[in-house]
C-alpha cells in the first residue's frame, strides 16, 4: 500500500473495536455470573479494554485534521504497522472462534479458576464417589441388587459428566485421532 498510515488506521480501528469488545464481553459475563473473584479474568479484561482504547486514540490522532497529523502519518509504517495488522487479525480471529466455542470462552470461564475446579470436583464426588461408595458397601454386605443398581447409576452419571465436559469445551464431533490416549488405562488408583 502506497500510504502505510491508511493501513495502520484501518488496523488500529479494528484493534480498537475488537479488543474493547473482547474486554467488555469478559466483564459483562463476569457481571452476569457474579464471578469477580477471578482476578485473572478481571485483569485480562482490563488489558483488552486498555489496549483497545489506546489503539483507538492512536487511530483518532491519525485521521484528525491538524498541523501535527501530517508528521504523524509520515512516521507511521514498518514494524509498527505490521504489528497493528497482526493484532487486528488476532482480534477478528478471536470473534470467529468465540462463535464456535461459545460456552468455553464465556467471560471468566476462559480461565479455569479455583472455583471451577472445586465445582467439578464436587460434581465428581456427588455423582461418582458416592455411587462407588454405595457399590462397595453393597458388595461387602452381599446385597447384589443394590450393588448392580449403584454401579449402573454411577456408570450413567460418569458418562453424563464426560459428555457435558466435552460439550462445554466446544467439542461436538469426535475425529479418529481424538480418542488416542497418552498411555493405556492402568485400572490402578492414582498414586
Amino acid at each position: 500500500m502506497s500510504s502505510p498510515w491508511l493501513l495502520d488506521t484501518l488496523a488500529g480501528a479494528l484493534v480498537a473495536v475488537s479488543f474493547v469488545a473482547i474486554g467488555l464481553a469478559f466483564l459483562a459475563q463476569m457481571l452476569h455470573e457474579h464471578r469477580w473473584t477471578s482476578g485473572m479474568a478481571v485483569a485480562a479484561a482490563l488489558i483488552f479494554v486498555v489496549v483497545g482504547v489506546r489503539s483507538g486514540l492512536n487511530t483518532v490522532a491519525l485521521v484528525r485534521p491538524g498541523p501535527q497529523t501530517v508528521a504523524l502519518r509520515a512516521a507511521v509504517g514498518g514494524w509498527a504497522t505490521a504489528l497493528d495488522v497482526v493484532a487486528a487479525l488476532a482480534g477478528l480471529y478471536y470473534w470467529t472462534l468465540r462463535s464456535g466455542f461459545r460456552d468455553y470462552v464465556r467471560g471468566a470461564r476462559l480461565f479455569n479458576d479455583l472455583r471451577d475446579r472445586q465445582q467439578e470436583a464436587m460434581e465428581i464426588h456427588d455423582n461418582v464417589v458416592q455411587g462407588l461408595a454405595v457399590a462397595q458397601m453393597a458388595l461387602d454386605l452381599g446385597e447384589e441388587e443394590r450393588l448392580r443398581a449403584a454401579l449402573d447409576q454411577t456408570m450413567a452419571a460418569a458418562r453424563d459428566i464426560i459428555s457435558r465436559r466435552l460439550g462445554s469445551s466446544g467439542v461436538t464431533t469426535v475425529d479418529d485421532g481424538d480418542l488416542r490416549r497418552r498411555s493405556a488405562a492402568s485400572g490402578r488408583a492414582p498414586a
Binding site: 464436587m122 456427588d126 461408595a133 454405595v134 462397595q136 461387602d140 454386605l141 443394590r146 447409576q153
Partner: protein, 141 residues
C-alpha cells in the same frame, strides 16, 4: 439383654443411607432412628431424636457437614459424631475433628470397619467432659 444404640444417618444419597443402616444392624448393636438428607434437617432431627451416634456426610445441599458440626456439638455434647465422607482425610479430616467430630472415616472403607470404628468410640468410654446418656451410659460406664 441386647441394648441397641440409636443412630441418625445424615447423607444426601438415599442408597448410601440404606446400606449403612443394613451394615449397622448386621455388624453392630445399632438401630437407625432417623435419616436426614441435608444439613438443616440434620440439626433439627438431631435435637429431636437425641441419638447416641450421628453419621455425618460433609457434602450436602443447604448446609454442609462442616457447618452442621458445631451446631450439633453444641446441642448434643455427649453424642458421638462420626464424619463419613468421600473426601480424603488429609483434606478435611482435621478440620472436622476441630469442629467437634469424634472420628473421620472415608467412604469406601469396608462396612465392617466403619461399624468397628463406631463401636470403638463407645469402648473408649464417655466423651471427654460429658456424661453418657440413658442406655449408653449403662453399657459404656
Amino acid at each position: 439383654m441386647r441394648i441397641l444404640r440409636s443412630v441418625l444417618i445424615v447423607d444426601d444419597t438415599p442408597q448410601l443411607r440404606t446400606v449403612l443402616g443394613i451394615a449397622l444392624a448386621r455388624y453392630g448393636d445399632f438401630e437407625v432412628v432417623g435419616e436426614a438428607g441435608d444439613g438443616n434437617s440434620a440439626i433439627r432431627m438431631a435435637r429431636t431424636l437425641n441419638p447416641d451416634v450421628i453419621l455425618l456426610d460433609l457434602a450436602m445441599p443447604g448446609m454442609g457437614g462442616l457447618e452442621v458440626l458445631p451446631h450439633i456439638r453444641m446441642s448434643l455434647p455427649g453424642t458421638r459424631i462420626v464424619v463419613l465422607s468421600g473426601f480424603m482425610a488429609d483434606a478435611v479430616g482435621m478440620r472436622a475433628l476441630e469442629l467437634g467430630a469424634d472420628d473421620y472415616v472415608e467412604k469406601g472403607s469396608p462396612a465392617r470397619d466403619i461399624v468397628a470404628r463406631i463401636e470403638a468410640l463407645f469402648a473408649a468410654g464417655d466423651r471427654a467432659g460429658c456424661s453418657a446418656r440413658g442406655g449408653v451410659s449403662a453399657m459404656t460406664g
